[in-house]
Symmetry: C2
Subunit: 154 residues, 2 copies
Amino acid sequence: MPRSAFAPQSFDPKTFRPQDSLGYLIGNLRRALLEELDKAFAPHDVTAPQAIVMFQIANGVAEHAADFCRNLRYDPGAMTRLIDRLEAKGLVRRVRNSKNRRNVRVELTPAGNAALPHLGTAAFEVFGIFLRGFSKAETRQMFGFLRRMLANVP
Amino acid sequence: MPRSAFAPQSFDPKTFRPQDSLGYLIGNLRRALLEELDKAFAPHDVTAPQAIVMFQIANGVAEHAADFCRNLRYDPGAMTRLIDRLEAKGLVRRVRNSKNRRNVRVELTPAGNAALPHLGTAAFEVFGIFLRGFSKAETRQMFGFLRRMLANVP
DNA sequence: TGACAATCATTGCCTAGGCAATTATTGTGC
DNA sequence: GCACAATAATTGCCTAGGCAATGATTGTCA
């Protein structure tokens, strides 16, 4: 089957099928994923973006709001308010540093740490739904593709 | 390399890397794509969601607001307003049908049809950025993966 | 050292999507 | 044919992200 059936090189209004475009597929996938994740996280009163921030803190890959923004391509203003909400729920707390007073470290509270494994297993159950029928090799391959696409863009 | 490096079967707070999760990758990809598409469409004063609706009309796969909503997993209220904006720009028009007065057909105006090829080529340039370095086989394979994931979810 | 650039967090403002309720219209089963 | 369910489109309300501006702090370089 020629590539053109999936990703033609140039635009032709007659043959172009929006349902097969990258934007359509990624957009729908994101909405479906968000829907399922929010449903799975709802009992813990946490949204998907909030959970990803908590996972990043727990994993140690990020601890400042600016890190989260870069990692998640997120708006700084929105991140401030997202952390506000997490803090209001008592899952996270801001810690000022006397050495560096410019940025604020965000850390999990005991309640946040306690919620983490529940959020994690809930997330994995959702991922399992989407990856149903994928072999290990296919899964590995697809994750590689996604990463390669992200690496192609600044 | 074991699958666990990319998609472990179960959650482990120690080893789980949020940057490798499906949600993170799809979310970031969607934001990057949206950013590039909006930049590419900006000269035509059209956003990415608006463009996808126009493409669907042009391709004939959908012509009612409810169709767009199902295809794009979009909220009906938001779709009403999206069409309002497209109509205000003169790119689209609502056509009432005397046979079926419940739903409204949305069609492209001459201006909408004129803008279409520009939007299409702009979109393809963006897709080309993300797919840089992908062989035809890889592209085909990845689109298949994305569709399979979507088929796994209601 | 001192001016200037860069970074970080925050705020206000605007836009847009999600949700629930409403109205109008059409289909279905008794 | 009629009651009732189902579907479409719309509206109001709320939430949340994008953008621009601001203030505070830190790094850099002449």
